[in-house]
């Protein structure tokens, strides 16, 4: 009897997963077993080291490289490699080439437990495919039973061109469709077919009814379909889903409305996390609008909705929002952010300010600013409250916004902050009071001229100069004549002199003129720095005497003085 060899049984598998030549065995040849064993050994090692070092280690790199080399050697000797998978071994040509050491922790078991019964590596398997395959094996090993993926679904998604695999689905294997039980064998009534053929119906159709050409897709139609596919992939699915939910929130049973509101509430954090701010704005706007329609939503849904808006005020929520804005690749537009924050209650202002203060990305700060301004303008009382915050970062931010928005009611709390132990906060208060320009604030700024912190002192002097607060004349006059200012750096000195020049009266101008031009009894003038500062101060004064004094020094032999005078004449009020 002569026969052909029967084919190797094909394991139950999806078509790509191993049907066809991929599962044929390769005849053993000299040295082939050793090569296959070596390949399997390195495959297992690479997977194991990837698991241990999470894919980042010289050891893993070494195994990977070795495996890639072994694979390329393999293809010089065989067109493909099929490994059968048993519960604890990888088998080639009927004998194991790898045996798991521990039943549940090895590669064979990992494959077996998810239903993989064969792996076929085709010629060309190597390079990046090896890396990706090992990553998938390592990922699969970490999956728990409750997750939506297993090794088979991951391999499918991986879709490696030189890998085939055969699988069984142990849970549905052997599933059969129930049959109607009737047989087709009975003869039909003689003549029945001829009779029907002569009639029209039931479809009333003939081939002529379908003009063949009608059903060939024309080029224009194929292009349209291609465009449709493109469009489908670009469309905003969230918008469609949210619109569906909102449409159905407008009708349906109270029970369903309640469910939809719950879904919307659960959905918001995810949308924020994903940086889908336009969708968030839509949800808030639409649900707020629906909530105001009399009798539309049942009480329970209204309560859920109320809970949602309350949740928005929580520091964590707002903090997350800011973080989300920072991390989102697509920066939210200020308009959308304002829409979102428009539904945030005043309590959310604090966390928002903190978040904005802590934001690192300049673009995020820029986007947040108008939104904060919008919310703070609507709730100035909240800014005043926040000035009392125990968190100096928050209080400082509130101070800056109090000044920027010129919220006069914050003068008192800002003045109180001038005595705060935190210098940053004192500085913010000074700058805010400068913006406020209230008398009480200006009066309080005088105290800051003696602040222990240089920056605060400078800011206070500049603020008083900016406000042109004449009440500070005496303090500034005393300051510029003090020993301590003479010992200060030039920046501080200039700040004080300029402030004094702004508010100086005739006596003050004379004093400055003397500083600039007069000589003492020994015929000496003041030091260059003092004379330059005096010139800066005179430049701020509108008095004619100030101009005269500057003109007199215009040709001074001291270049430092001459430069300061020149600048004062050009930029100042004199």
């Amino acid at each position: 009897m002569k026969t052909q060899l029967p084919p190797v049984p094909v394991t139950d598998a999806r078509p790509e997963a191993g049907a066809g030549p991929g599962l044929q065995t390769v005849p053993a040849e000299d040295g082939a077993r050793e090569q296959v064993t070596d390949f399997a050994r390195n495959l297992v090692r690479a997977v194991r080291t990837h698991q241990i070092y999470e894919g980042s280690s010289p050891v893993y790199d070494r195994f990977l490289q070795t495996l890639q080399q072994r694979a390329s050697v393999l293809w010089e000797h065989m067109p493909e490699l099929h490994l059968a998978v048993t519960e604890d071994a990888l088998v080639w040509n009927g004998a194991p080439v790898h045996q798991d050491e521990e039943r549940s922790g090895g590669l064979a078991f990992l494959l077996y437990k998810d239903g993989v019964r064969g792996l076929s590596f085709l010629t060309g398997f190597g390079g990046e495919e090896v890396v990706r395959l090992i990553e998938v094996f390592a990922s699969a090993a970490r999956l728990s039973a409750s997750e939506e993926d297993d090794l088979v679904t991951l391999l499918w998604e991986l879709d490696l061109p030189h890998l085939r695999y055969s699988v069984v689905d142990t849970l549905t294997e052997g599933a059969e469709l129930s049959r109607t039980g009737e047989e087709n064998a009975a003869a039909v009534q003689t003549g029945a077919v001829r009779e029907e053929a002569a009639q029209s119906g039931p479809s009333g159709l003939s081939t002529a009814d379908f003009d063949g050409t009608l059903y060939f897709l024309e080029d224009a139609e194929l292009r349209r379909l291609a465009e449709e596919v493109e469009k489908e992939w670009r469309r905003d699915l969230w918008r469609d889903v949210i619109n569906a939910l909102l449409d159905r929130l407008e009708d349906g049973s109270p029970d369903r409305q309640e469910r939809i509101v719950e879904i919307l509430a659960e959905m918001l954090p995810g949308l924020l996390a994903a940086g889908r701010f336009a969708a968030v704005a839509t949800v808030l706007r639409e649900s707020a609008e629906l909530a105001t329609r009399p009798g539309l939503l049942p009480k329970s849904a209204m309560q859920t909705l109320q809970g949602l808006f309350n949740q928005l005020a929580q520091p964590e929520t707002v903090g997350e929002l800011v973080r989300s804005i920072e991390e989102s690749p697509d920066l939210v537009s200020p308009e959308v952010l304002m829409q979102i924050l428009g539904y945030f209650p005043p309590q959310s202002l604090g966390p928002l300010l903190t978040g904005a203060e802590q934001a690192v990305r300049p673009e995020a700060k820029r986007v947040l600013a108008p939104a904060i301004e919008h919310l703070a303008s609507a709730h100035p009382e909240r800014i005043a409250e926040l000035l009392n915050s125990e968190d100096p970062v928050l209080a400082a931010a509130a101070a800056r916004w109090a000044g920027r928005l010129r919220i006069e009611r914050t003068t008192g709390p800002l003045v109180a902050l001038l005595r705060h132990e935190d210098a940053t906060l004192r500085l913010a208060a000074v700058e805010a009071l400068r913006e406020l320009r209230t008398a009480a604030g200006a009066g309080a700024l005088q105290g800051a001229l003696d602040d222990e912190e240089r920056e605060v002192r400078i800011a206070a002097a500049r603020a008083l100069g900016a406000i042109a607060y004449t009440g500070a004349r005496a303090r500034l006059s005393a300051a510029i004549q003090s020993k301590s200012l003479r010992e200060a750096d030039l920046t501080e000195q200039i700040a004080f002199y300029q402030a004094f020049g702004t508010v100086a009266d005739e006596t003050g101008v004379q004093m400055l003129a003397r500083m600039l031009n007069a000589k003492n009894w020994l015929g000496r003038r003041e030091p260059s720095e003092v004379r330059a500062c005096a010139a800066e101060a005179l430049g701020r004064s509108p008095a004619p005497a100030a101009r005269q004094a500057l003109d007199a020094a215009a040709q001074d032999s001291d270049p430092v003085v001459r430069s300061a005078v020149s600048r004062a004449l050009r930029d100042g009020s004199a």
Binding site: E147, D149, S178, A197, E221, L225, R235, R256
Partner: protein
């Protein structure tokens, strides 16, 4: 026997030689069948047996003298002798079918006979065929028995021989059947689980849809054939799988990639998940629904949308699937249900699933539909009736995919034979000429096995098609269960 299996074609044979081989081959198969039958019925020394064996020896000798060797093989329903497909007609189909079955039960796909075959080898060979095969390994045991006999000049090859179109077809069919039955099992598990509030195993759904995508990409026809297994008892589950298959196949035609097909298939499989939240007495009602019941039934797309919010596991929400579930009755101009308040344009995927859903539902027997329509009538309705709300371009693409007579259609041929469409013609200009199985002859007698015919085949003498479809008919009218031919 050495070398690979022969390729079953002989296009270039001269007409006279071909006619001669047709006749000789047919005689050989008839003699083979007669001798085999005699051995089954009578003792070896019976005169009838002896004369039939002698006849077989004689016909084989004549064929061997003319051809130098004999290879006869079965490819699906076709029989080839030395690469020539033998014509099977009403006067021969039972004989051809009998020989094919006798070989197939032993896993034998082809038989090769060498010139110096002896008479007693035929006797032994046929006797082995009459024995019961070993169910564990029919082919192996046959070979083993043959090896220990005196047979030296007759060889056999397995039915699952590599490169054999018959085995490829059978294997594809088996794959398709397995994919289909597993997918229905998953759909049953998911939809039943959803009804009782049990968590859905996305892993199972994923595997099922991935399997369908693979099958459609590799052998679409086999899987499409499975959609004809319209089982009333499992309608809901099978319908979900059918819609998935049609959608993925249509998506493939539209040029979607593998991962896109997966997403489409995933949504399609779950498009009716909202029905699990409908009262079971409505979904299973035998007969038309009243107004109140219809109103309730119209809520299933919305319920589907909401249900899918509950099945996501670790990854993102299945937004496309949600929209498929929500929009699949919406219609192109939003004239269906649910009613839209805000701006909406049904997604491409929804429009695809709408067509697949409409086609499968209309051609199936289901609880609240009295009788299914013939496929071609459904296609025309989808094409011509704008009130149905289908996207005309998607319908057109669908028809160009299924052909005018989709797989599963029962048609009357101009020979007054009844046939079943088993594959659309791959040539666009022959959409009206699918591949069919003739299941009843012109006298109304069932053919066993049915004869597979490509309606685009031409009569060499006239150049005209050998057969043509007159019209489609209702399978129920003739007691035909279409699915049985694909199972």
């Amino acid at each position: 026997m050495s070398g690979g299996a022969p390729t079953p074609t002989r296009d270039a044979a001269p007409p006279d030689a071909e006619r001669g081989l047709q006749r000789a081959g047919r005689d050989f198969v008839f003699a083979f069948y007669t001798a085999l039958r005699a051995l089954k019925l009578y003792p070896l020394d019976n005169q009838t047996t002896q004369s039939s064996l002698a006849e077989l020896g004689g016909t084989a000798r004549r064929l061997l003298d003319a051809e130098g060797g004999i290879v006869f093989r079965y490819v699906g329903d076709f029989c080839f002798v030395n690469d020539l497909r033998l014509r099977i007609d009403l006067g021969s189909y039972a004989t051809f079918g009998g020989v094919g079955r006798a070989l197939k039960r032993h896993g034998v796909g082809h038989v090769q006979v060498e010139p110096n075959v002896a008479a007693n080898e035929w006797t032994t060979f046929l006797s082995l065929l009459t024995l019961d095969p070993d169910p564990a390994d029919p082919f192996g045991s046959f070979v083993s028995r043959a090896d220990s006999s005196l047979i030296r000049h007759i060889g056999v090859g397995p039915a699952a021989d590599e490169g054999n179109p018959a085995s490829e077809e059978d294997r594809a069919k088996q794959m398709a059947k397995r994919t289909y039955s597993q997918s229905v099992a998953v759909a049953r598990e998911v939809l039943t689980g959803a009804r009782i509030g049990k968590g859905v195993s996305l892993r199972r759904v994923k595997r099922a849809v991935q399997g369908i995508v693979d099958q459609v990409l590799n052998n679409e026809t086999s899987l499409m054939g499975m959609t004809t297994l319209r089982d009333y008892d499992q309608y809901t589950f099978a319908h979900s799988v059918n819609v998935c298959i049609f959608s993925v196949a249509l998506g493939k035609k539209l040029g979607l990639g593998k991962s896109q097909l997966y997403e489409l298939g995933f949504g399609a499989l779950l498009h009716d998940i909202g029905k699990t939240r409908m009262p079971i007495e409505i979904t299973n009602k035998a007969g038309p629904l009243d107004d109140n019941e219809w109103q309730q039934m119209k809520e299933h797309p919305t319920e589907g949308l909401l249900a899918l919010f509950g099945i996501h596991a670790t990854s993102e929400l299945p937004l496309r699937a949600m929209l498929l579930a929500y929009e699949h009755h919406m219609q192109l101009k939003l004239t269906g249900y649910p009613v839209c308040v805000r701006e909406r344009e049904p997604t491409l995927f929804s429009r695809i699933v709408t067509v697949a859903d409409g086609f499968d539902a209309a051609t199936s027997k289901r609880s609240y539909q009295s009788e299914p329509w013939p496929p071609d009538r459904v296609l025309r309705e989808m094409r011509d009736n704008p009130d149905r709300g289908y996207d005309p371009l998607i319908v057109k693409a669908f028809i160009s995919m299924t052909g005018i007579y989709p797989v599963g259609s029962v048609v009357i041929l101009d020979t007054f034979e009844l046939a079943l469409v088993i594959a659309s013609n791959p040539r666009p200009e022959a959409l009206h000429q699918p591949v069919v199985k003739i299941i009843y002859d012109e006298m109304g007698l069932p053919l066993d096995p049915p004869i597979t015919v490509d309606l685009a085949d031409l009569d060499p003498a006239t150049g005209a098609p050998l057969r043509a479809i007159i019209k489609a008919t209702e399978p129920e009218r003739y007691g035909i269960h279409v699915g049985d031919y694909f199972a």
